[in-house]
């Protein structure tokens, strides 16, 4: 059997392996040890299967690959249409990469209702992968909403503190916002009779959708609101700190690592893909919001006394870069935005895992409780250092490449935005390094901390892949960029056309 025989089904295989695992788990006896190993095996299986994608992806080709298009429901005309391009390919792999680490990191911290926890985690993985590989708007919406329930339950059942408040807030914010997207999707369907992304894009570009010019502004906003809440773009970000602080570690990792990227991915794919004119028209205020997010997120992160909240606000700041890059409409900006998505997923996922390990030992995220941890926990501190520096954007680590590209893209479109955005890099160095200093350097002030155990083998297995990935992505970004760029260029074709039209007039 040729491996290429797998090409049409590989995406379904990756997407539904975790779900199949979750269903099997349902029938397994409640023996926590076996359940953990089983979940680890399933998530690793999905990861290994997902490696098929980058290995067999034709990097120079811009279009969708590994496509599968089957009629699913006749009325409404819904297709089971999957496919990935250079952007969604890596986001899917990011999801499968982070999930086994989430399983490992939850090994000991989840002791109650273990079975339910891993079922929810695996269901969440399926939904997340589904979001990135769907090319049918309905299917996309379905997976989009499907991520909500397991995530809200993970926060509400396994979180800390005001977990119920956080879970409900998370659910309602994102659910209400996505209603607007649903309305926009329904409008498109009512006018065209199809949910197929590729067909809709073609029809929109050819001007074949009736009433499209007059409605497109509203449709753009309908999609945009749903994505902006998910990103979260300032001022829609208030659910994020609550959700992060109360979520269990694995929840935070997937929330920051993958869930937020659904929003930026959505902007890239749908806001830019379907409504290029409107995207250009609205780019100004969106970029301003993104800049506010970058600077405000960084400033708020700086004064956080809570380690996890600090990382959460740093996400607001970093995702601002992504939005800034997307709405610069330059090849560098868009490639950079995609790269920041991946880099942020790896490094912030790593940071949340590190914070979670500290919480397991001390049951607090308060920064002032710590200090001088480098002495009792040298390996932990070194790992933290690498991942933190990746997040800061140190050259040779993954954060640098993406932010550099985004900023150069922003400079090309509007120099002022580039300058303001660049301050964000400085801010992130400030709050992360200051935090690192307070937590790790100096004398051990709190006697309890002196006896803290360094990370063990399992914890290293969970952490080091993120550190290694941060390094590899920083040293050899072309491995990623050479498949991202062709897709980005094809996304930008309508924009260059628009630009030349404007110039022609």
């Amino acid at each position: 059997m040729n491996v290429h025989d797998l090409d049409p089904v590989i995406l379904s295989l990756i997407t539904f392996t975790p779900l199949a695992g979750a269903i099997l788990l349902l029938f397994l006896p409640r023996r926590d040890r076996e359940i953990r190993w089983f979940s680890l095996g399933i998530s690793l299986l999905a990861f290994v299967a997902s490696l098929h994608l980058p290995v067999h992806f034709h990097r120079a080709e811009p279009g969708f690959q590994f496509e599968l298009d089957k009629a699913w429901i006749p009325t409404p005309n819904i297709h089971y249409h999957l496919g990935v391009d250079g952007v969604s390919l890596w986001l899917a792999v990011l999801t499968t990469f982070l999930t086994p680490l989430c399983v490992l990191i939850s090994w000991r911290s989840v002791n109650e209702r273990v079975k339910e926890f891993f079922i929810l985690l695996l269901v969440l993985e399926t939904a997340l992968i589904g979001v990135f590989v769907s090319l049918d708007l309905f299917l996309f919406y379905f997976f989009w909403e499907a991520t909500l329930i397991p995530m809200a339950l993970l926060i509400g059942m396994y979180g800390h503190g005001r977990k119920i408040y956080a879970a409900v807030k998370f659910f309602l914010y994102t659910m209400i916002a996505s209603m607007f997207m649903l309305a926009a999707i329904l409008w498109l369907y009512a006018k065209t009779g199809t949910f197929d992304f590729i067909a809709l894009q073609r029809a929109a570009q050819a001007g074949q959708i009736p009433d499209f010019p007059s409605a497109a502004g509203w449709l753009f906003l309908g999609f945009f609101v749903a994505f902006a809440v998910k990103v979260p773009l300032f001022p829609f970000h208030t659910w994020l700190p609550d959700a992060h602080v109360e979520a269990p570690t694995a929840g935070s990792v997937l929330l920051a690592g993958v869930l937020l990227k659904m929003g930026t991915y959505g902007m890239l794919r749908f806001n830019l893909g379907l409504f290029p004119l409107q995207a250009r028209a609205n780019a100004g205020w969106i970029s301003v919001l993104a800049l506010i997010g970058i600077i405000y997120g960084a400033l708020v992160a700086m004064i956080q006394p809570n380690l996890k909240k600090l990382i959460a606000y740093s996400s607001v700041s970093h995702l601002g870069f992504v939005v800034l890059g997307i709405f610069s409409f330059t090849a560098a900006g868009l490639s950079g935005a995609t790269f920041v998505m991946l880099a942020h997923g790896v490094s912030t996922g790593g940071l949340f895992m590190l914070a979670g390990l500290l919480y397991e030992r001390r049951h607090t995220y308060e920064i002032r409780e710590y200090g001088g941890l480098a002495t009792p926990m040298p390996v932990y501190s070194a790992t933290f250092m690498v991942v933190m520096l990746a997040s800061v954007g140190l050259p040779l680590l993954n954060g640098f490449i993406g932010e550099f590209l985004v900023l150069s893209g922003a400079f090309q479109s509007r120099p002022l935005f580039g300058i303001l955005g660049a301050t964000g890099v400085i801010w992130s160095a400030c709050y992360l390094l200051w935090m690192y200093q307070r937590v790790f350097f100096g004398q051990v002030r709190n006697a309890v901390n002196a006896g803290l155990l360094d990370i063990d083998g399992r914890e290293r297995t969970a952490l080091w892949p993120t550190a290694v990935a941060a390094l590899v992505m920083g040293v050899a970004p072309l491995l990623w960029l050479n498949s991202i760029e062709p897709s980005i260029h094809s996304m930008l074709v309508p924009f260059t056309q628009v630009a030349s039209k404007v110039v022609g007039q």
Binding site: W72, I73, P74, T75, P76, R113, E116, Y141, F142, E145, A146, L148, I149, L153, G156, M157, K163, I164, A167, V168, F171, L172, M175, I176, M179, L182, A183, L186, W187, Y189, A190
Partner: protein, 489 residues
């Protein structure tokens, strides 16, 4: 009236006529068998025997829809019409009756109510509901409506020792009779306006001449009567009290079965007659029902009352489809009634199981910690609640989807926006129940009885239907689309 019938009916009924009401006949026979056997049995063995006979009766009626479906056409002097449309509702109603009987057995045993006529009343109620869906003559519709209503009036008061149940029964009876009187008045005015009570004749004569005020009034009065039965605002006041007082399995029945049947009648009255001036009526009713239902549900503590308000809200969503064009609206209504039946019967099956003797545990707080103590029941209830919210992969999503897109295609953007906002409000109170089940721990733990086999079966059927309609809605919606032709020649 009699004269008309005689003129149109020179012959005696033929054999095919009986075939076309076969499910109703089967239900009648089994209902009478139960009543005859009941006095011969002692109280202990009567529960099991009678419920088994009732179940067999409902299933036999379900099977009888097959020969019925093979002989479509008119029966009994064009008073009954068997087509894809009525078959759809026959299957739905007999299935609801079967599932309700499955969940009743345990309930009646726990509440220590002598079953007796309970099961035969369910079957007789189903007779009325089935007949409503196939009757094409207003007087027959009225009779069918009464058969179904009177059975449910009695059933609502079946917790004889609970005052609240008798109150529910009396309230339901008084207000219900009032509403049926409205309906009958509307029929009379329609007869005055067009000279007939046959739906097709009325449709023809309304098409032929200018619509008289009398016909308008007739439609409006019929709408009031039917609106009461489906608990659409502003005729919904009775719903929460009755749902709270009536036995939980009976609520499962009356929130789905008679509703589905009355929605079927409304389809015939509004679409087949092509009722003049219906748009405004429906717009207001739909918007009011959704908004009042959802807002009131937000503050409920009793799960049964919460589901009552939720059912008002769902009647509102459903009403939206009546403002759409027939080609989209009719299948949307049919799909919605089926989905709503699946998820609501399922939800009430769990409510009635947890309620315990005397229905003591019916507040939201009683559900705290259910996710830990009874993961299966909690998971099942979650599926129904998610479907009621309208989360994809469950039937509730497609139900809303078809209704909203039908309304969209008739340019009812305002109504769709109200509907979408309401779905968001609705998400909150269903979510509250989910949150309590999974994320709160009970102060005092309510006893959870082991689930008997019959309840497992009832839940399995409801879950399977909810998920089937959510994942593969294609076949059902196509079957429903066939009936567009039946209603709009």
């Amino acid at each position: 009236m009699t004269l008309l019938l005689l003129q149109a009916a020179p012959d005696l009924p033929r054999a095919a006529d009986y075939l076309r009401i076969l499910p109703e006949l089967v239900l009648c026979v089994f209902a009478m068998v139960i009543m005859v056997i009941d006095p011969l049995l002692d109280e202990k063995s009567s529960q099991r025997t009678l419920s088994t006979i009732g179940l067999i009766g409902a299933l036999a009626a379900l099977a009888a829809t097959l020969p019925q479906a093979h002989s479509p056409g008119f029966a009994f002097w064009s008073m009954v019409k068997v087509d894809a449309f009525s078959i759809f509702f026959h299957i739905l109603i007999t299935a609801i009756a079967a599932v309700v009987i499955l969940m009743s057995y345990e309930y009646m045993a726990t509440q220590q109510i002598r079953a007796g006529e309970y099961y035969s009343l369910i079957l007789l109620g189903a007779v009325g509901m089935c007949l409503m869906s196939s009757a094409v003559e207003l007087v027959l519709i009225f009779i069918a409506l009464e058969i179904s209503s009177i059975s449910t009036y009695v059933l609502a008061g079946f917790r004889r020792r609970a005052a609240i149940s008798s109150e529910a029964s009396v309230k339901y009876f008084l207000l219900g009779s009032f509403a049926t009187a409205f309906f009958l008045y509307g029929v009379a005015l329609m007869f005055g306006a067009t000279g007939s009570t046959s739906i097709s004749v009325i449709a023809q004569s309304l098409r032929a001449e200018n619509t008289s005020t009398l016909a308008f009034a007739g439609i409006a009065l019929m709408f009031v009567g039917l609106g009461f039965k489906v608990a659409a605002a502003p005729f919904h006041i009775w719903t929460p009290d009755v749902y709270e007082g009536a036995p939980a399995p009976v609520v499962a029945l009356m929130s789905t079965g008679p509703k589905a049947a009355v929605f079927a009648v409304l389809l015939r009255v509004l679409f087949e007659i092509n009722a003049p001036g219906r748009l405004g009526l429906i717009w207001v009713t739909a918007a009011l029902s959704m908004t009042l239902g959802n807002l009131s549900a937000l503050v409920q503590h009793n799960v049964k009352r919460l589901l009552a308000y939720s059912s008002i809200a769902h009647a509102g969503y459903l009403m939206m489809a009546y403002a759409a064009l027939p080609a989209n609206g009719i299948p949307a209504v049919m799909f919605y009634t089926a989905t709503y039946a699946a998820m609501n019967v399922g939800a009430f099956a769990i409510v009635s199981h947890l309620a315990g003797a005397g229905e003591r545990y019916v507040t939201i707080e009683d559900y705290a910690g259910l996710g830990r103590r009874s993961p299966l029941l909690a998971a099942a209830l979650s599926i129904f609640l998610l479907s009621l919210i309208g989360i994809p992969m469950t039937g509730g999503f497609f139900a809303k989807f078809y209704v909203f897109s039908a309304a969209f295609q008739n340019s009812l953007t305002g109504l769709v926006i109200i509907g979408v906002l309401n779905s968001a409000i609705g998400a909150y109170y269903y979510l509250r129940l989910l949150v309590v089940m999974y994320m709160k721990e009970g102060g005092q733990e309510i006893p959870i009885a082991p689930t008997p086999l019959a309840l497992h079966a009832a839940l399995a059927i409801s879950i399977a239907a909810t998920l089937y309609l959510g994942i593969l809605p294609g076949r059902v919606i196509e079957f429903a689309s066939q009936s567009v032709r039946d209603l709009t020649q």
